[in-house]
Symmetry: C2
Amino acid sequence: MVGTGGAKLLRIQKMNRSSDRRPIGVFDSGVGGLTVVRALWRILPGQDIIYFGDMARLPYGSKSGEAVTRFSLEIANFLRRRGVKMILVACNTASAYALGTLQRRFRLPVLGVIGPGAKAAAQAYPRGRIGVVGTSGTVHSRSFQKALRRYASGSKVRAVACPLLVPLVEEGWWRGPVTETVARGYLQPFRGWRPDALILGCTHYPLLRGLFGKILGRRVFLIDPGERMVQRAREILKGAGWKRAGRRRGRTQFYVSDNPEQFRRLGGRFLGKKIGKVYLKRF
Amino acid sequence: MVGTGGAKLLRIQKMNRSSDRRPIGVFDSGVGGLTVVRALWRILPGQDIIYFGDMARLPYGSKSGEAVTRFSLEIANFLRRRGVKMILVACNTASAYALGTLQRRFRLPVLGVIGPGAKAAAQAYPRGRIGVVGTSGTVHSRSFQKALRRYASGSKVRAVACPLLVPLVEEGWWRGPVTETVARGYLQPFRGWRPDALILGCTHYPLLRGLFGKILGRRVFLIDPGERMVQRAREILKGAGWKRAGRRRGRTQFYVSDNPEQFRRLGGRFLGKKIGKVYLKRF
């Protein structure tokens, strides 16, 4: 089941109806999940956030399900010890491989990007052609494909792995002929097929939104699953009475397992804002 | 000091003058170090080899010195428990960051690629212009630059980080316009400068030898530090009486921390030969 379990929610709801100052935990393999922090700042501006980027072991996109699940459990345990009220798995690969395990292991609500991303596509085009782009891990796990079959059984789905797009974005090459050539190559299977919607199934891809639109045409509905996950988090927090009250803007704390300086430098570009202090937490 | 310590060698030499069947340990962040295995097969065909690829935590090129040193110690401990007589650090980034620590911690000879690579350039062009290409970690550690100052104080050195070349090679794009465009961009600082030699300071780059030659001109002396390290290993083994006697070809065992299947598939290309069994050893 994608989501958080109704009974669990109801129980916690009864425990706590007042304003809830506990932070929201967000994690990713590195800087990519900062696109989710950006969405949180916009959609849930009052919430405190603890972000964890697993810079020591990134990328997750080429690693096995076992490895990604083990890394995710370590991070989720760390976030729980920091007292978060909810965990958002910003990384598509970790959502694809580890969400079920995390939801079983933790009493907290744990949300991933796959369900919300697939739902958004299904609602817009229940019988349409839906494209998915992601890392090798995300595509080979077939998580988006399975979720789309559940939410939009009448849809046609085509998924393509685009491994080079992450290193290209991390190298800062968001524009320019190299990235365009690489992206055109990967998107070739979608050209004649004419998808109605394209799920941007990796935290780095929202930064390539303009390029995807240029290659596939502006008619294609581009879906950022991270943003959809944050909207779902907002519903849950509201329903559970967990929204932090008041007009104060939330604080965001950043933790990484390696390279705080590099995270600060690269992360600023994902966040559209300078990052201050970054804490180091090795596993 | 680059090398293995004379006193240590002499001591072990006395202990064991006969043929030594213990394997040589080789490690790398992933498949790249298989170019070193290939050199071992050619230069020391009788030796048994245990290879370790840290597929769970690759790449090393973007990680900090602390992280790479910690990973390297874990792997070297594993190799020691497997009874190796010598450890070859195939990864340039691990050589740059962790070699000193490994040499202090282990009584075994531990060799890296930086010293042998720099020496080869220094011997050929003691007062020449020497270029270095490598990962961000290798270049920023300034290890090649320092070694060259030691071995060829009259030389001029220019080092350039080429982060995208590893993912391009791992994606199988060894040829073609994209990789050539990216490589031309990175090598721009060498064009007017006209280097005499270029140190291929990453295990993946020997596979791009043809492309480097095409861009910089065939006059440039291209140095593969991994091959030089293997030649140095041969001298040491011979000097210590550690060479495995007889005409039997050595056996090679492969271990990885994740993704044995992917290692087998990609590794075959680096090795120029199919890989059989790959063992999984998680940390």
